[in-house]
Symmetry: C2
């Protein structure tokens, strides 16, 4: 029987991934062709004891009893961009979200939605990029899923990663811990990711090619945590940029945050392109930048740690938390607010954008 | 300042979800319009202490030290079908994958990829369906993400859920535990989900409308576990159906599984449509059916428990594990094999499908 099956296999199924140049609907059908894609592509690169089990899920042991859980779908266009690609973005993005909870990232899931006609060589590049990003950040992909949709019902590749990390008992990082007197630190210059995506997508031919700041933040967050600084809140500056992150925290913590524009670093090339295109760098997305809220007494120490990082020369203290916001007249709700002191010395409300400036930047 | 902000808000932003009938790119932009969609739509229905924090991830406590982790993306077309919709499918599917690991499902993440132009009333229906499915299965959505892609770059809505569950210390469910002498149980009739999707999608007008078997399996699995039966392996019968599930396990456990066609229940309506369309029910997807591998001595007890279920009247013992597969002549690898004893008494290899029979059924 075995031999018969073997012969049938060989005769009827030229199944190697190499036999296909692009994704077909069969690659999502749950049959041999899909199994072969998973084996030859995903498992070849992402092999580990958990995922090799090919069970419906992965079972892992943990000695911690506080865990962080997060998810993001990545629909970035283009999938390859200066300074990164959708594969590493999908790992770093979720690793960063875990880091923002004060967690040490451990395990990731990987959900792929592939469009019929997607080039398999590109998929391979992306999976290798996922593998490298996992190795760099010390996380493992332990469970996954692959779906295929018809041409015109997707866009090459969408990736979802969910992540699990472990949070030490004494760590408590949350917008609700932000309080009057806290100092706001920014981990570097802003706007590079969004502008890199924008200029690539629109084929804008500027002299200097701006690279995305796409990078993992787990190491620097671990350093801050291990330094003994009591971090009140962390937030990475993705969609909506610094402006959205500050507003979200102000609103959740119901505080007034005052920011000094002069201390927010934007490299000249980004500043120039923003001026030409009419973007405000404060609202442009980043993929390797975050803000930290700490007590005033810890601010200098935190800044020193940020500046010691390879990419940390533009880290800065950008503002302070002024006070709990006042109750609004009608008494129905409290709101947070962000005040920007401009370079010219004027004050203005840094409001959240209404809609979007740059779609599909992550 | 507060008042000014309030006035600005009112003047410049008719932001209520009600002001939009369909999803726009702005709903994924990270600004106010997106925040409003999340607040008025997602959080209104899925509110809990974790997700309300609106942090980059959720931190939860666990007293167990063995956890299961799984993920699936749902790209089913149509999103509403007889017997269910993509929302409950996205909850049940992931709850079921956790159950197949022997885990008690606890927490889910929810990642939405919405297409520009998607009808917001439909999104609301789906979120309510997610909410109801969570309540039925006792799981909580504790973290999430929403992305929007341009019209023609997605298909209404794709949902990714990842799930975390807790596995008791004495439970060990895995394909590698399947051994000679094990009995294979099937939890009900097969083929209903795939045929329900197919006939709806293709507008096939059969007299009787077949409903999907879409259902959560966590309760029945808990009952089996609590009965003291040592379950060797569980697998739900989604893409590729019973045929793929048996082949995957045979291949992973390197055994020969012998199945009796006469014991596999298929309702007459499904049988009829399969004959007309040329499908084999063994390869048609289910969303509320699973197979269980147990020792022979436990088989009758397990069957009794399955039959006591509301939807369990078609549960049956369908086969046995015959032996470890022999090494193949060239010595390079061992393979598993599934033998189907047909109703006519003949034996044939039940091979895995090569590609796909019905795309996008989950």
């Amino acid at each position: 029987m075995e031999e018969v099956k073997n012969i049938i296999d060989k005769l009827s199924c030229p199944l190697l991934v190499n036999d296909y140049e692009t994704i077909t609907m069969s690659h999502g059908g749950g049959g041999k062709i899909m199994g072969n894609l998973i084996d030859k592509m995903i498992l070849q690169f992402l092999s580990n004891d958990f995922i090799n089990e090919k069970h419906d899920g992965a079972v892992f042991l943990t000695d911690g009893h506080r865990l962080a859980f997060t998810t993001d779908s990545y629909v970035i266009n283009p999938i390859f961009f200066p300074g990164g690609d959708i594969g590493e973005l999908a790992v770093y993005g979720t690793v960063n979200d875990l880091s923002m909870c004060g967690a040490k990232p451990l395990y990731l899931s990987l959900g792929l939605i592939l469009e019929e006609g997607f080039v398999i060589k590109d998929l391979e590049k992306i999976i290798i990029s996922v593998k490298n990003a996992c190795e760099r950040t010390g996380v493992k992909i332990i469970t996954g899923d692959t779906k295929v949709v018809e041409k015109g019902k997707g866009d090459k590749i969408f990736i979802n990663t969910a992540g699990i990390g472990i949070v030490k008992d004494d760590i408590n990082i949350s917008p609700s811990r932000v309080e009057e007197g806290d100092v706001v630190l920014l981990s570097g210059d802003i706007g590079r990711h969004g502008i890199a995506i924008m200029t690539t997508r629109e084929n804008l031919d500027f002299e200097s090619k701006i690279k995305s700041d796409c990078a993992p933040l787990n190491d620097i967050v671990q350093k801050l945590l291990e330094s003994g600084i009591d971090i009140h809140c962390l937030r990475d500056l993705t969609r909506g940029g610094l402006g959205s992150a500050l507003n979200e925290i102000a609103s959740k913590a119901k505080v007034e945050i005052e920011i000094n524009e002069i201390h927010i670093n934007v490299i000249e090339e980004v500043k120039g392109i923003c001026e030409i295109l009419g973007f405000d760098p404060l609202n442009v997305a980043n993929e390797g930048r975050f803000i930290a809220f700490v007590k005033k007494k810890d601010a200098a120490k935190a800044l020193k740690i940020l500046k010691e990082e390879e990419d940390g020369k533009y880290a800065s203290i950008i503002g302070v938390v002024k006070k709990k916001s006042l109750k609004i007249e009608n008494g129905k709700k409290e709101n947070g607010i962000v005040i920007l002191k401009s370079i010219l010395g004027t004050n203005r409300i840094l409001d959240m954008l209404s809609g979007e400036q740059l779609p599909r930047i992550c």
